[in-house]
């Protein structure tokens, strides 16, 4: 039985490489999970997300063969594409804690706008995630999900990114 979970996600950067590029909590993110139940408490599927970090700062941005320094806007757009597995505890129909993990690829675009200059660096990274949260059933088969997910994009060309998303979702199916 398949489930579809559409989530609104807030994004918090962690780790020095990510925070030095764009720091601060971002309210711009979305995550979609589609999973099928292998057993009553185990589901496997896929996840796609779109997570944004941005900051106006005065910093130096490094690119493979360019450097841009000065006051400007720095944006990170991250699109993780993952295969996932989720374990739910408790009884169906009640509040259920869940834990999940996944791996796949993450498309990351780092963009710096300073003055009249715009520099972009785009890479595909290997990525992993781990998450925990709860599912709260509502009437008529829908479920509210609340969770936190750690997301990491491994280093490519000297760039790595990691952040945590805090998501509120609406799950259908199951």
């Amino acid at each position: 039985m398949w489930t579809f979970n559409g989530q609104y996600s807030a994004v918090l950067p962690i780790g020095d490489p990510t925070r030095s590029f764009a720091d601060g909590l971002s309210w711009r993110g979305a995550t979609i999970d589609i999973e099928g139940g292998a057993t009553d408490h185990l589901a496997i599927g896929a996840s796609v997300g779109w997570h944004v970090l941005s900051e106006q700062n005065t910093a130096t941005s490094l690119f493979p063969d360019a450097v841009l320094s000065g006051a400007g806007l720095r944006h990170m757009n991250s699109v993780p594409l993952l295969l996932t597995g989720t374990v739910t505890l408790g009884s169906p129909g009640g509040v259920q804690p869940f834990f999940g993990a996944g791996g796949g690829v993450v498309w990351v675009e780092n963009r710096t706008e300073a003055g009249s200059f715009v520099l972009e660096d785009t890479n595909w990274h290997r990525g992993v995630m781990g998450e925990a949260g709860i599912r709260i059933p509502r009437a008529r088969g829908a479920t509210i999900t609340i969770g936190a997910r750690y997301q990491r994009a491994f280093e490519v060309s000297g760039v790595e990114r990691e952040y945590v998303t805090f998501s509120l979702g609406y799950l259908l199916g199951g």
């Binding site: 711009r28 360019a66 320094s69 400007g72 706008e113 300073a114 200059f117 008529r140 259908l172």
Partner: protein, 227 residues
């Protein structure tokens, strides 16, 4: 009917969620339009260039000013000489030796300074940038370089940008570097200092030395290799 009502409710809820997701996923929030913030330094380089092997350079004693039509404008001698001195100081710190157009042999690299009088593409390769007619070294060292030759920036598509009025562009050319196209003058390093020539003369003078120093600080590969 209850089933139909339930289905429409779910669709409405799902649609609301999707609308929120799409609205939340803006790519570049707060994208600046026409920002007027000075003091931005961009440096780019050709990673295939033989940095570290250069020991001599030539640099004209004038800062070119060009408008959108490629017309050379009158220079500002008072400011220009200070800019040229600042760049020469940085090259001296890198242990480069400056040569003139009267030198018997060509320099390892040629450095040109240009200030824009209007907006335009940062990495233009059009002939309107009539620097060679103005730089005597071209005819003595590279007599084949006529107005049909063009500057080529290998990073032009990767790092596009706009020159605004007042942008100072420092360009380094390696004549021996393989050009990507026939009759192309290979540019191996460039620095764009945005907004440097904006504001009062006192403002410019107070800022430019720091910006020029920053441009070279961002380019450690320019350092001459130790024997």
């Amino acid at each position: 009917m209850m089933g139909g009502t339930r289905g429409r409710t779910r669709c409405a809820a799902l649609g609301s969620v999707m609308a929120v997701l799409l609205a939340a996923g803006a790519c570049y929030p707060g994208q600046i339009q026409g920002v007027d913030e000075p003091d931005v330094v961009l440096t780019v380089f050709d990673s295939s260039a033989a940095f570290g092997s250069f020991t001599t350079y030539a640099m004209p004693d004038t800062v070119i000013r060009v408008d959108g039509q490629g017309t050379n404008l009158l220079p500002s001698p008072e400011l220009d000489q200070q800019i040229l001195d600042a760049v020469a100081t940085e090259f001296a710190a890198l242990e480069y030796t400056r040569v003139t157009s009267e030198a018997p042999g060509p320099p390892d690299v040629v450095v040109l300074l240009t200030v824009s009088a209007s907006d335009g593409s940062l990495w233009t390769s059009d002939r309107w940038w009539s620097n060679w007619g103005w730089f005597p070294g071209w005819t003595s060292w590279y007599p084949a370089w006529d107005v049909n030759w063009m500057l080529r920036y290998p990073w032009a598509k990767t790092y596009p940008g706009v020159r605004r009025s007042g942008t100072l562009l420092i360009t380094m050319i390696d004549p021996d570097h393989d050009g990507s196209e026939p009759q192309s003058i290979p540019v191996i390093w460039a620095s764009a200092l945005d907004g440097l020539y904006l504001g009062s003369e006192a403002s410019v003078v107070s800022r430019f030395q720091g910006l020029v120093r920053q441009a070279f600080h961002q380019s450690p590969y320019l350092q001459r290799a130790r024997p």
